[in-house]
Symmetry: C2
Subunit: 153 residues, 2 copies
Amino acid sequence: MYNVNMKAEHLHRLIWMSRPLMQAAEACVEAGLIGTNLSVRMRAVLEILDKYGDQTVPELAARLEIKRQYVQIMCNETLASGFIEQRSNPRHKRSPILALTDRGSAVIEEIISKEMKLVEELGENLSNEDVATALAVVSAVTDSLKKRAGESE
Amino acid sequence: MYNVNMKAEHLHRLIWMSRPLMQAAEACVEAGLIGTNLSVRMRAVLEILDKYGDQTVPELAARLEIKRQYVQIMCNETLASGFIEQRSNPRHKRSPILALTDRGSAVIEEIISKEMKLVEELGENLSNEDVATALAVVSAVTDSLKKRAGESE
DNA sequence: GTCAAAATGACATGTATAATGTCAACATGA
DNA sequence: TCATGTTGACATTATACATGTCATTTTGAC
C-alpha cells in the first residue's frame, strides 16, 4: 500500500540519519572545546560527574556504557589535567571516588551552559510538539532495534 | 520559561539519542549478516552498487563520503569474496567498473528486503505523520548542527 | 601530437575509540 | 580464614578511518 511504503521509507531515512546527526553533534561539541584543554572524552567524564555526582571509575563506566578498562584511561587523563581529583572511598579502599575540582567544575558548567544555549537556538524554528514527537519516535525505534539486536545474540 | 526549557531538554535528548540509535541499527544490520560471509563494510559496497548501479572505486567513495583509499580496501575485500567483479571501463583503463556478480546481487537484495521488512515492522506502532515529523525535525537539526560545526573550522 | 596536470590503485603509516585479556592487590562475606 | 569478587594497571588486538606518497595512466590545453 502507498502509505505503508512511504512510512517505511521515511523510517528508514530517519534511522540512517542517526550517523550524520551524531557526527554533526560531535563536531559541534569538539568545536566548543577548543581552547579549554579538554578532549571529548575528558568532557564526557566531567559531564557525568557534574550530572550524577562523585563516583568511582566502575560506576562511571556503567553509566557511560563503556568498558571500565577504557574509562580508567579516560579518568587518568582527566586526573592528570587537574579537572578531577581522587578522594578516599569509605566503601572501598582500592577504588577512590572521583570528584570535580573547582577548576573542573567551572569548566564543565561553562561548557554545558554554552551547549545548552546552542540547543535552544537550534530549537527556535521548531515547535514544541514536533520536537516531543520526534523524541518519542526516535526513542521507540531505538528501543525496538535494541530488542531485535539483543534477541539474536 | 517553562516551555522553552522543556523544548531544549527534549531536543538535547533527541540529539544524544543519535548514538544509541545508530549503535542499535548497526547491531541489527550486523545480526542480519550472520551466515552470509558478508561484513558490514562489504554490505555497504553492495548496497551502493545495487542502488546506484555499476561504478568505479572513486565514485563509490564519493557516495559513501569515505576516503577513496579506504573504499579501495573495502572493494578489494568484496572482490576477493566474489560478490562483485571488475569490468573494463571504456572511460578509464586504470579504473575498472565494479559490478555485482549474480551471487552478490542475490545476496544484497535478500538482505535489503529483509531489512526493509524489519523497518516496516518497526513502524507498525507509529503513525505516518509522526514518522514524517520526526524525520523532518531530525533533518533540520542535523543541517543546523552541520552549519555550526562548519563555521568554526 | 606534446606535455603538464589530474586521476587511479597500491602501499605504508598514523590516529581515535574501544574491546579483550591478564595479573596482582585488595576487599568482602560466608 | 578462605573463596570470591572488585579494582587498577598494563598489554594486545580490532575497527574504522585519515593521511601521505609513489608509479602509472589518462586527460586536457595548447
